[in-house]
């Protein structure tokens, strides 16, 4: 259902042993699609930006030509906090930042830090 309604790319969390769990994401980019990527890999606690998984770095190492647009989604946590399966209809906002580029051979930590601060800059107030 998630694939049909949101046109989502699902990552199999246990696929690491069999192949590349990010393969569906590579395929989407290769097909010329825009990919919305959640670097925390899960829903946060609504207060702090959680640690980034390394997926976004793997993705860009393979496709350094891809443009990265940092986005901050505000208030979504309160719409459906972790552990609930029904939403409440609160207002959310999205802020978009300037395009970021992955620099060739950029170490993982440096890139993730750069992406992280670009996202935090978009946080309202």
């Amino acid at each position: 259902m998630i694939e049909d309604v949101f046109n989502a790319v699902l990552v199999d969390r246990g696929a690491g042993v069999h192949g590349n769990p990010l393969q569906p994401a590579f395929d989407a980019i290769a097909a010329g699609q825009s990919l919305i990527f959640f670097p925390e890999g899960t829903r946060g606690d609504g207060e702090t930006l959680g640690p980034f998984k390394s997926g976004v770095h793997h993705l860009l190492k393979a496709r350094p030509d891809a443009e990265v647009v940092p986005v901050w989604i505000d208030n979504a946590y309160r719409v459906m906090p972790k552990g609930f399966f029904f939403p409440v209809p609160l207002l959310c906002s999205m802020s978009f930042g300037a395009v970021l580029r992955y620099e060739v051979q950029e170490p993982k930590e440096a890139f993730l830090d750069r992406l992280r601060s670009a996202m935090l800059e978009l946080r309202p107030q």
């Binding site: 609504g46 208030n75 309160r78 906090p81 972790k82 552990g83 609930f84 029904f86 409440v88 209809p89 609160l90 207002l91 107030q125």
Partner: protein, 316 residues
């Protein structure tokens, strides 16, 4: 569909005429002030007028469609307004169930009670049952941080956005001798006078406003705007006495009640917005802000008007 009083169509035709004039004025102002320092004010004015066309069309459709549509429209407005209000409150994860119940049970039940005409429960459902249930639901989630503040803000939001606003369609349930079948006109009267007062305060304020009432809290409210708006809306209410069960004198007194409470309600909501550091509650209505920015005055005047009419005019 109930038998439609012919005055309803006359009133909406008149509103359409007023909007045509307003659109014409807005159009000529735009040509005159294009590129000047007042352009932003004129652009905002034109956006407001465009939104008014839509709002009046929706109001007319609901009024013509009859009581269930009027009740449904205000129920939906409560839903949207409460959504804007809660977005600005410090509710936490532990309030999720209480919020879900507020949105999807309390608001529909409150308006459903109007639909079935059960006044006794309508009057106490939110002030008693929602009032007690919300903190219970939040307490069960065991999060004590700012508990009273979170609970109080949910309760207050539900009172303003759902309970107070629901008194507009509740006018449909009043049994006024000699006025049966025309109750929808009372809703039109209340909303029309309240909104006209807001608009007239805005116009008088923009044209003649000098002395600010509460410069820090609400920079657009001026003494001149208040006096001109309240006076002209009261005159309008007296002129509309024939659509009401009131005498001309009573119609003007009740209009004064609507405008004064509407003004004070707008002031209260402005203070809250100022505290939260926001200018508008939302962005649904271009030029106006959110739904709550448009209906804040009606939320305060509706229960007072309802009870005045119920006490002096209806049999119960």
């Amino acid at each position: 569909m109930m038998n439609l009083p012919h005055e309803i169509l006359l009133i909406f035709a008149a509103l359409g005429g007023v909007l045509l004039v307003a659109s014409g004025v807005g159009f000529s102002l735009r040509a005159r002030f294009a590129g000047g320092p007042s352009q932003a004010v004129v652009d905002n004015l034109n956006a407001r007028i465009r939104a008014w066309w839509m709002m009046i069309a929706i109001a007319m459709a609901a009024t013509v469609a009859g009581a269930p549509a009027i009740i449904g429209l205000f129920g939906f407005l409560s839903f949207l307004a409460f959504r804007e209000f809660i977005t600005q409150t410090p509710v936490r994860r532990a309030d999720h169930v209480a919020l879900f119940v507020s949105f999807f049970i309390a608001i529909p039940v409150q308006y459903g009670l109007i639909g079935i005409g059960w006044y006794g429960l309508f009057a106490i459902f939110i002030p008693v049952y929602a009032f007690l249930s919300l903190p219970i639901l939040s307490a069960l989630m065991a999060d004590e941080r700012k508990f009273l503040q979170r609970t109080a803000e949910m309760q207050w939001g539900l009172m303003i956005c759902a309970y107070c606003l629901s008194h507009v369609p509740a006018l449909l349930t009043l049994d006024i001798p000699g006025y049966q079948g025309r109750e929808a006109l009372l809703c039109v009267f209340l909303v029309l006078i309240g909104q006209a007062s807001d608009v007239l305060q805005y116009i008088w304020g923009k044209l003649f406003g000098r002395r600010k009432i509460a410069a820090r809290l609400s920079p657009n409210k001026t003494v001149e705007g208040l006096i001109g708006g309240v006076f002209s809306a009261t005159v309008l209410g007296a002129a509309l006495w024939q659509i009401t069960p009131f005498s001309p004198l009573a119609a003007s007194a009740l209009s004064l009640l609507i405008t004064v409470f509407g003004f004070l309600g707008g002031l209260v909501m402005s203070v809250i917005k100022r505290d939260r550091g926001i200018k508008d509650w939302g962005g649904l209505l271009e030029g106006h802000g959110g739904i709550l920015d448009r209906i804040d005055s009606v939320c305060f005047s509706a229960p007072v008007f309802f009870h005045a009419v119920r006490y002096f005019y209806s049999v119960y």
